[in-house]
């Protein structure tokens, strides 16, 4: 479970104070799939970075699984990131000179995952995201959708409880975007907590709730009534992804 209370984050830019989050509070239950929406600059990425322990809030508390992480040391936060959190980025952030397999194996280095299990685990994950035929491909030899699937496999490497996705479909065409959302949905069904930032209302409706942000505060906590599902997707996509 992720619980955020009165979170404040202010950036300082050449003496100017830029408030990004202003006493924001929200709760995400374990195993939930939530979307975060809001206009550009409203603080979505700032919130996600705080949830992902990449940064510390100026004020307020952030609890992950009942532990307040808002005052933890940077080393402890790094440890938390490697065990509990998986990141999916808009621009994938794959190492361009490494193969899909090596990219997926990268997080093992920092979690001390057993050496002999690294490769089988990475292969298993790549198969899971439907890339069993692309293990030796480099990022520039893959489509955007495939690259994002490698990134998701990487995020899953250390089997984290929480997946944070900041506009994971922002750089993809609508079909690939749908595929990625379907993948997240499936991971959610299998127990992961998913927090996804998106500008796309339709994709957001795959989540069970949508948090609407404006100027650094939560203005609406919407429960999605007519939830969309990947099952409605083109059969080909779903078929491609079933192992």
């Amino acid at each position: 479970m992720v619980r955020v209370k009165d979170l404040v984050k202010t950036y300082h830019l050449e003496g100017l104070e830029v408030p990004a989050l202003r006493r924001l509070s929200l709760t995400v239950e374990a195993g939930a799939f939530v979307a975060i929406m809001g206009p550009s600059g409203c603080g979505k990425s700032t919130l996600l970075n705080l949830l992902g322990c990449l940064d510390r809030p100026d004020e307020g508390t952030l609890e992950i699984d009942g532990v307040d992480v808002s005052r933890m040391s940077r080393a402890d936060l790094a440890h938390l990131r490697s065990r509990k959190i998986g990141f999916v980025f808009q621009t994938f952030h794959l190492l361009s000179r490494a193969t899909a397999l090596s990219n997926v194996m990268l997080p093992f280095v920092y979690s001390g995952y057993p050496h002999d299990k690294r490769r089988p685990r990475a292969e298993e994950l790549l198969s899971y995201v439907g890339l069993q035929d692309r293990m030796k491909h480099r990022p520039n030899q893959m489509s955007g959708g495939q690259q994002q699937r490698v990134a998701i496999a990487r995020a899953l490497a250390n089997d984290p409880q929480i997946l944070l996705a900041d506009e994971p479909t922002g750089n993809l065409d609508s079909r690939s975007g749908l595929e990625i959302t379907a993948l997240l949905e499936r991971l959610n069904r299998e127990g992961k907590t998913i927090i996804m930032v998106t500008h796309n209302r339709e994709l957001a409706e795959h989540a069970e709730r949508i948090f609407h942000l404006l100027d650094g505060v939560l203005i609406r906590d919407e429960v999605v009534v007519a939830r969309r599902s990947a099952n409605e997707l083109v059969g080909a996509v779903a078929g491609e992804m079933q192992p």
Binding site: L54, D55, A78, H79, R81, S82, F87, L106, Y110, N158
Partner: protein
């Protein structure tokens, strides 16, 4: 992360930019090669000097004209006040069982038929020179006391002189000409080898009396004194100073042991080593700055990668060590190239100067490799520190 993983990641990063890495390591390579070669040369040289001086005999001391101030620098020879009488007095008044061997030498041109060799050291000695220096003919005989007394025109050749004048043939019984005087060759000395450019076999030994006649002087160049036991040298030298002090002023002569000569030579070669070493050090410094430069570039280029690694759980020390080990790998590779380069250099040197045996010193190789690691650590520290302290969010946004 284990050390092996660090090494692997570093090698991959270095290998990803082969040309750039190679060029970067060049500075350290040249610096290391220079260090290895210079130290090897200097170790080799001081070994040769030591061998040479020890070859002269550790039971030997030398009476020579005092060095005039600045003589060594200006190259002017000092004027000798040493006479045969001093040598006789030393022999007569000593309490030790010593061999006193006076020498008068001069550079001269030695001829045989149409062949001529200039710059040969012509040494007038007594027969006891052989015992004093422990240096004897390999073929034929040295001249005897009667030859000295009757100023007989005989000569014993150093090997280089024989080779030069007799084109590989046997010189025994043949005739050579020095300063217009015909001398018969009675012997050829054992080879003493070479010290740098100084060929110790480029000598001709003639009776002392003959040398005095040829060179028109009765002074001696120096007097060798051999003492039975090396332990007696200090006492014997003190005695020599007392005896000579009766007839010579303190600034007219100089008594010194081979050990002292050795120390002087060794301290000179030490200074030499230090000087050349610092020249090599400068190139290592430049190489190190090159590595620092390329590491800073690398950190900037890979800012997003650093951000990503942090997002995936890398701690600051992880990133620090990753980039530090990359710098060390670069620098160490430079050290390895440098080692290869130094062996190549030694090979070339031994082809160009066959007389000078240059063997690459393993100590020097170890030192240079150690230095290369130190250089990588020192100059890699700042870029690695910068990488480790990047803010992950800003690093991920970097383009």
């Amino acid at each position: 992360m284990t050390p092996l993983e660090y090494a692997q990641v570093s090698f991959e990063a270095v290998a990803a930019n082969k040309l750039r890495s190679t060029l970067t390591t060049l500075g350290v390579a040249i610096g290391s090669a220079a260090i290895i070669l210079l130290i090897s040369i200097s170790i080799g040289a001081s070994r040769e000097v030591t061998k040479l001086v020890e070859g002269l005999g550790s039971n030997l001391y030398l009476v020579a004209p005092a060095r005039q101030k600045g003589a060594a620098l200006s190259g002017t020879a000092s004027i000798s006040r040493l006479q045969m009488s001093h040598a006789e007095r030393l022999q007569r008044e000593t309490a030790f069982h010593v061999v006193v061997s006076p020498v008068l030498n001069n550079a001269a041109t030695v001829r045989h038929g149409r062949e001529a060799k200039s710059g040969v050291v012509v040494s007038g000695t007594l027969p006891n020179f052989q015992e004093a220096r422990n240096w004897r003919p390999a073929r034929g005989t040295y001249f005897r006391k009667s030859d000295v007394d009757s100023v007989r025109p005989v000569a014993v050749l150093g090997q280089s002189v024989e080779t030069a004048l007799f084109a590989g043939g046997d010189a025994l019984g043949r005739e050579i000409v020095i300063a217009g005087e015909k001398l018969r060759v009675t012997g050829v000395m054992e080879s003493k080898g070479q010290l740098f450019d100084l060929d110790l076999d480029n000598q001709v030994f003639i009776p002392l009396t003959m040398a005095q006649r040829l060179f028109g002087t009765t002074t001696l160049s120096f007097i060798f004194v051999a003492v039975p036991k090396p332990d007696d040298i200090p006492a014997a030298m003190a005695e020599a100073r007392r005896i000579l002090g009766q007839t010579l002023l303190p600034d007219q002569y100089n008594v010194r042991s081979q050990g002292e000569t050795l120390e002087t030579v060794q301290s000179i070669s030490l200074i030499f080593t230090a000087m050349l070493g610092s020249v090599a050090g400068v190139s290592l410094l430049v190489g190190g700055i090159g590595i620092m430069n390329i590491m800073i570039v690398s950190v900037i280029e890979r800012t997003r990668e650093i951000g990503l690694r942090k997002a995936l759980g890398a701690r600051e020390p992880d990133i620090l060590v990753q980039f530090l080990s990359e710098a060390i790998v670069l620098s160490f590779l430079g050290g390895c190239f440098g080692t290869a380069l130094s062996y190549l250099g030694a090979l070339v040197a031994s082809k160009v100067y066959p007389s000078f045996v240059l063997s690459v010193s393993l100590t020097a190789v170890g030192l240079a490799l150690g230095f290369s690691i130190a250089v990588g650590t020192f100059f890699g520290a700042y870029p690695a520190y910068r990488a480790a302290h990047l803010d992950p969010i800003e690093a991920l946004r970097h383009d």
